[in-house]
Amino acid sequence: MKKPVLSLFLVSLFVLAVVASGCIGGKETTPTTTTGYAEQIVIGVTDKVTDLDPANAYDFYTWEVLNNVMEGLVKYKPGTLEIEPALAEKWEVSEDSKVWTFYLRKDAKFADGTPLKAQDVVRSIERVMKINGDPAWLVTDFVEKVEAKDDYTVVFYLKDSISYFLALLTTPPYFPVHPNYKPDAIDSDQTAGGAGPYKIAKWVRDEELVLEVNPNYYGEKPKTQKIIIKFYRDASTMRLALQNGEIDIAWRTLRPTDIESIKKEGKFSVIEVPGGFIRYLCLNTQKDPTKDVKVRQALAAAIDRQDISNKVFKGTVEPLYSLIPNGMWSHIDVFKEKYGDANVDLAKKLLKEAGYDENNPLQIELWYTPTHYGDTEADLAQVLKEQWENTGVIKVEIKSAEWGTYVDYARKGQMMVYLLGWYPDYLDPDDYTTPFLKSGANKWTGTGYSNPTMDEILTKAQTIVDQKERAKFYEQAQKILAEDVPFIPLIQGKLYVVTSPKVKGVVIGPDMIFKYYTLYKEA
């Protein structure tokens, strides 16, 4: 018996000794390159990289990583919504805008030096169609077939005239992937990537992703040799890691309270980026009491968006008065024009017309999901409840379900009034209207909304090429939205990048994708 006790003590002493010796070491400094910039930058995120295969990846952060290790035929100019050539030097479009011809650069190569040719583009797109994963519809809904005319010419034949096809081409399902990707199956942990400015050097799922400069990238070489992405479980741990110097950048997503206090501390740079992420309420148009349009209108009138932004999000979001986000062409503040903010009188009037008053108040069930949209969700529901109950004619019961259940309830139309959010697939008003307002396409929302006039307008807007003409249709669509109120837009998210003061070159455009190649850290 003597032995185990003694050895236990000895092992413990050894561990303590090692721990103590480790503690003395302190922090390591970041190695620098000859250019005077730090060789590596560590970025912390609370998001996950779900799938390194663009045929199956369908979440925002994974798309960001794919955008750094791959490239499409065209891309957004950093920080703008302007589309510029990428792997394609130029392109032509047929008169009916159904046939698009792209001429590839001759110096494009994959990270291992394999030349990238038209056949690779065709193989990659056909692969997405064959695998038919989550994001496949971004290709299959629009592309009839794709052909390689020669080594450097790719032709897309579309099912219909699609005015925003170039915007679609900026999404990962259209990115050419290295021949190492399995030809007809999802290849989730494949690190061969594409022809982007970085290549994947190391990938330990949920722990660390290391990107190194792609030596064969045709464009300007990034200033930072190595980008290390560290994955965090929650925002508070990420914030501590930033304050302890373990990471240089805290990216998606710190909590509003963290951002507020970091700003006050003044030790870090807080960069604000407009985001296309929107939050809104869904209203069931098929079931009582929200079946009554006057009820829906009243609920819209009683909401105070600035109050939500201040109370719940500490001013880190902006009020949104349409489904099409602020700053996007064709956006109009339709809900502000029609209802204003916290218009209690109008809400009462509408409810009276619908048959409700103080003695017979409207009973509403408001649903939220506790973690999927961050830990501010319960507060958001509470503030909405207060605003509606302020009218004196509405009684709100708050209910919640975790994500798996919530989505099921939503799709089945089982909830009355419920909170959801939307990250765009492509940056066009179409992606903020058709999936919500067009009959059939909006089945997933569970609102049951259908309006033939709306359907007609949205179909026309999809096929017309001229942006000014299209804008007129989207303006019409937004006015009908404010009239029918199957959704109530609430807020538009902003993104915050918090960096150590030495980090420079943060450029994030309206596409909300952080391109790491512009980043550098002063030594």
Partner: protein, 339 residues
Amino acid sequence: MARGVGSYIIIRGLMIIPTILILYTIVFIFLRILPGDPILAVVGTKNIPPEQLAHLRAMAGLDKPLYVQYFDYLFRMIRGDFGVTLAFPQGKPVWEYLKLRFPATLELTIFSFTVSVLLGLITGVIAAKNKGTKIDTSMRIYSIVAYTLFIPWFGMMLQYLFGVHFHLLPTSGRIDPGIDLQRITGLYVLDSILTGNWEAFTSAIRHLVLPSITLGMVLSGAYTRLVRNNMVDVLSQDFIRSYHARGVKHWKVTLYALKNAFIPVITLMGLQFAILLGGAVLTETTFSWPGMGTFIVDRIDYRDYNAIQGAVVFFAFFVGLISLVVDVIYALLDPRVKY
């Protein structure tokens, strides 16, 4: 001793099978009772046509009747196949995840276990040796305070103090970013020793300090009390007095007493090890430790049936094994135990 150790181990080992079967059935039923499914949870609010949803469901085998799904997975497990993940990313062998995540939890558990036993023994012995004094009272208070500490709060306090304030230790993760460590067992400390990578070794140990202390300290309270009470009993026995009378050195007497007081502690150690594996969930979340606890929580959110079932069964199997080993050790150490 009639049947011998061998048959005891076999019978005790076989008892793990019904335990796992019952657990699997409960998990299977509960997962299916909950509304929603893995495909919906992954797709979320994305605008995916119903035909494609049906296609994705069929690909995941969710279109089959429940009893077929139940037995399919059961027979797979018997063959050592835990199926493939149904969410983020779909189609990856669950076993791959278990291989990746389990060593992280095991490493944290081993270190926390060491901390808890060590702290428990030291404080327990000190309390017993000073029975009835202020020291005894303070050790007993320690045991209560330690036991009631809330892991996320305590962990965060340590992170602030040793990370943000003194910049002594990393606050999260398992190893410094960018350190290349060849993965052999997945236990980073062991791997770094095996490969002679001392930079990785120091880094892995430094990352283990705060989570191990957090989890270890919380569970040390139970040891303090148990060791104290047993030591007090043993120290008052005749044979201890006779040691003293014979002039045996003080520390040697303490060691003899500890030896006798240790047997009940071993039982607790077996139980604590299982609790540590489970209790790692909170610690893993607080320290962004990529282990099994956080894996299961993530997967529950996405209704990843295969991953949850696989992880729970694997966990249960491992805990069963530990408890078997502890029972055997206990039986070997205590001559009063009959097989």
